[in-house]
Symmetry: none
Subunit: 219 residues, 2 copies
């Protein structure tokens, strides 16, 4: 698996590079966005690790441009603790996961494995569930053959269910998934997003277990 690491901190960058290399992955490490752009113009990467503060620009607009161009390479954002709002923005911009600095290198390996596994299987694996066809890599859903567009939050939520089909997920678990960090959602946000998802995907897709949580309905 080829990984592009975009990080200007030389100490952290070297540590991450060594960790990933130790996992048997191949890593290219750049410290600037222009170098990243150049690297991306070549053969594709399977995963990107993106720092948000770089000497020649910020990571979020960079990611946004990337996604606008149609690039669906999985991205894990590396961000410092004091950039909470950036993380939410990052999710909106199309990031797949977050790591908050300072982070445990073993956990980084785990996240990489998890994101990679999500996209494993060479072409785009299509998950069919009821009348739905889901392409996780392309972030597209067809319902009865017709395309459905989901927002960033809706995707994050739907993915959580698809990754553990049949498993019950509590609201707390889903909040952790959507907000990656213990940000304070004080209202019925999850309920609202579930409601919006159901409206788009159909009523039977997500089932409620009163007092416990939600789970993906039987296909």
């Amino acid at each position: 698996m080829r990984i592009l690491l975009i990080e200007d901190d030389t100490v952290l960058g070297a540590a991450v590079r060594d960790q990933i290399a130790g996992d048997g992955q191949s890593v290219d490490w750049v410290t600037r966005l222009d170098a990243a752009t150049e690297a991306l113009s070549g053969t594709g990467y399977d995963l990107m690790l993106l720092d948000l503060m770089l000497p020649d620009g910020r990571g979020i607009p960079f990611l946004r441009v990337l996604r606008a161009r149609g690039d669906v390479t999985p991205v894990i954002i590396l961000t410092a603790l004091d950039q909470i709002s950036d993380r939410i923005e990052g999710l909106n911009a199309g990031a797949d996961d977050y790591m908050v600095k300072p982070f445990d290198l073993a956990e980084l390996s785990a996240r990489i494995g998890s994101v990679a596994r999500r996209y494993a299987g060479n072409p785009n694996p299509i998950i069919t569930h009821g009348g739905l066809e889901v392409d996780l890599a392309a972030r597209s859903v067809l319902r009865e053959g017709r395309p459905v567009t989901l927002t960033a939050r809706e995707w994050a939520l739907f993915e959580a269910f698809l990754q553990r089909p049949g498993q019950l997920l509590s609201k707390a678990q889903l909040e952790d998934k959507l907000y990656a960090f213990g940000s304070e959602v004080e209202s019925n946000t999850i309920e609202v997003h579930v409601s919006r998802l159901r409206k788009k995907l159909g009523a039977g897709v997500i089932e409620t277990e009163r007092g416990l949580g939600y789970r993906l309905g039987a296909g």
Copy 2:
């Protein structure tokens, strides 16, 4: 943790088996892919160690088929082929890690620990009891293969029994478990919930000991 070792070299296989067993894991060792397929048809494994060259076929297509079927059991490849192309092919096929022979047994233990940790919380241990299959993490119960849905209270109660299989639990103990704090349960709530559980799970699951309490029936 249950590990399936697929390795035709009897010397290496025995060494690996003994090493893992020494770590306190339980190992099943097969030397052929068809035996592996058979082993996998039973109850799930938490990890697979897969040799790439076996008497009745190659490991990579085997793994590819496994993944295509939706099996996400972590796989560590054991290979004598130090070729990069094989490594990449293996990882593409869905392997989580690899070891190049000859390898240090202590390192194998470390890798096993690492992969297992990565999946911690993922592989849901299944408790079988009579005709029931219970997945505590997913909060799902199958009765004679058919799903049963429990409410929040029913889960709490059932869990209390599962955590202490065979042990007698008084009504007072169960009330403490269900209501956590000294709330006032003034009626036969526990009896009612036990009744509801029995109706959903079958009559023999929870046994009454008149005047004493309840216990989980012999599976």
